[in-house]
Symmetry: C2
Subunit: 362 residues, 2 copies
């Protein structure tokens, strides 16, 4: 489409209006050219997979009628401004992590994960069969975007520590890089949550400015070099048992899609979700084997008694922090689903995994 | 397309050849009209979901260019002849359960599930990142069909029993309706595996002709009325920790799809997989609560010592039964993946689920 034709279609607004309005789909030889920015580098293992899987699928499935180009966080706008850029139509689409948007919508903390809450599969089931998708759509609509679940970190570890955690008292005075509800829990335990860019973490861990950090999991943690600056890798992952990623699409851009294109988008998100979970299982496991093998990382377990104490504190914090109606609604919905499914999960998948650890097989 | 035109296109073969060749896509106003038969009723909860989700998605995503009509098992051919009907092109597509085809390809028993093997998510990860998809494609190609993973029962229970299982010796003389590798294990434990249609099970359980049965899980088991004819529901589900469903497409029909249509099919299968897992988590949990609540089913645990004994026997049977090269290759691949991921799964999702059961939260 040449400039004169574009101006003619744009009418009074002219070219400037077209250029300013990222929400109007751009056409190149009759094709929709969309930009998707991730909050991570597009090459980041695991983290960046979903956006690439999604875009590749949509491009192929629509025979190129929709061409989605994937950008790393910072290529168009800074990573954490990705949501703003999608909201205001600078770009059509973003891919990130649900809790990243808790600054705008506090309930995102409850939508994104819940300490001691749901596992990945259970979280997926809550989105599909427990009312989660509807609650999510309501929250994302407040930001002017359409929501689709598009990935998951799987259960994250308790983090990397330079101090041992033997009792609940060991959290007292602990300086930990941690965000979201986890930061509030660490604070309530007597620790000091610290916010800093990941790039500053190695120096801060070495100088003792911080004592601990939680990041993603073995694959990405090794990539960030956390094993070089921390003595201990701790489990169990009470903090983020599930870490969902979100695709978010500018509402006006979403409105330009045909019903069949919307279906293709939803399926692309399902592909991204499945690919991400599978990749994290396979690659985190390989990274973990490397950690305990050649890298000789000291892997430690937070004693059960301390975990019990953390849970008591965590629940009080989580309930108290759900101050607005949306946070209360999401928390109530997740906890209802959790109560309903826990008895069954305990005798099915959990107990299978328990006995699998006991037996000699193969 | 009228008869004369069809004859002309068919050339020497004539109409009879077209009618005999289900592999040639039928056209109605330029559309591909495909038939998909499930091995189950299309309305069967959980079991029938995947085929419907898939067909609805493909029909919408292709704007009706491909119209897949779903049939219940028996509507076109008997349920267990679904694979034959797809192989020989009577219908384009089927939806069933991987181990159902072990009669044709023994390695399907190893592809479909493994006692003490992988959980659902781990199994999905093996298909995507452990070489499973490639192995599956090789096996299904021998039947002239294309394979896509399309659902999962999630961890199945140990079954419904009229005799208590307190020690390994209680399997001696046990008459159990069970198939596949499980049947071989029950036999090796001194029991008698029995094959009979599900419809005959209630009468057989009441008369004592059989003592036990394994079927799917709370949702479908209650639907089949097993709680009315069995005293005990047993866990843990050592037998089928994961139960994958398969989509299979006649190779010639698959060849008529464009690259974008193939992508749409793969995404439809991912949607079906995700929907099925989520539905089974939500609805099995609800059915389980009903079982232990109003239905007052006696839920029993096979003692760990007995499970250890079962595992010893199971491994010997599983290894001995892998007689052909394909079975050996699939078993080796699954066991390699299992060894690689188990250390990590133990400290991540498993241990999160373990401590979640210990703490008071909410």
């Amino acid at each position: 489409m040449d400039r004169r034709k574009a101006l003619k279609i744009a009418g009074g607004g002219g070219l400037a209006a077209i250029l300013a309005s990222g929400t109007a789909p751009a056409y190149s030889q009759g094709k929709k050219e969309w930009r998707l920015q991730q909050t991570w580098a597009k090459t980041a293992p695991g983290l960046g997979t979903g956006g690439n899987v999604f875009a590749e699928f949509v491009n192929k499935a629509t025979n190129g009628a929709i061409n989605i180009r994937v950008y790393s966080g910072g290529e168009i706008v800074p990573p954490f401004q990705t949501m703003d850029a999608v909201s205001n139509g600078t770009i059509q689409m973003g891919f990130g992590y649900v809790t990243y948007w808790a600054g705008q919508i506090p309930a995102m903390n409850y939508l994104g994960t819940l300490p001691f809450g749901l596992t990945v599969q259970e979280h997926n089931a809550w989105f599909m069969y427990g009312g989660g998708q509807q609650l999510a759509e309501k929250l994302y609509a407040k930001l002017g975007v359409q929501f689709m679940l598009g990935g998951n970190t799987i259960t994250q570890p308790a983090g990397w520590y330079n101090k041992e955690i033997k009792t609940l008292a060991d959290y007292k005075g602990l300086k930990m890089r941690i965000g979201g509800l986890g930061a509030k829990v660490v604070q309530a335990l007597g620790g000091t949550p610290v916010s800093m860019p990941l790039g500053e973490v190695p120096q801060a861990m070495q100088s003792g400015a911080i004592d601990a950090i939680e990041f993603v999991g073995p694959l990405n943690d090794l990539g960030a070099g956390l094993h070089k600056v921390a003595k201990y890798y701790y489990w169990p992952g009470w903090l983020e048992p599930s870490g969902p990623y979100d695709f978010f699409i500018n509402e006006k851009a979403w409105g330009t899609l045909s019903p069949s294109e919307k279906e293709i988008f939803r399926a692309g998100a399902a592909l991204a979700l499945q690919a991400t979970i599978s990749e994290f299982i396979a690659k985190n496991a390989a990274a973990y084997n490397q950690m305990v093998g050649e890298l000789k990382v000291q892997v430690r377990q937070i004693p059960d008694e301390a975990v019990r104490g953390i849970a008591d504190v965590a629940w009080k914090v989580i309930e108290a922090e759900a101050k607005d109606a949306d946070s209360k609604a999401v928390l109530a919905s997740v906890m209802k689903f959790r109560r309903e499914i826990l008895p069954y999960m305990r005798v099915s998948e959990f107990d299978f995994m328990r006995v699998r650890n006991l037996v000699k097989f193969g």
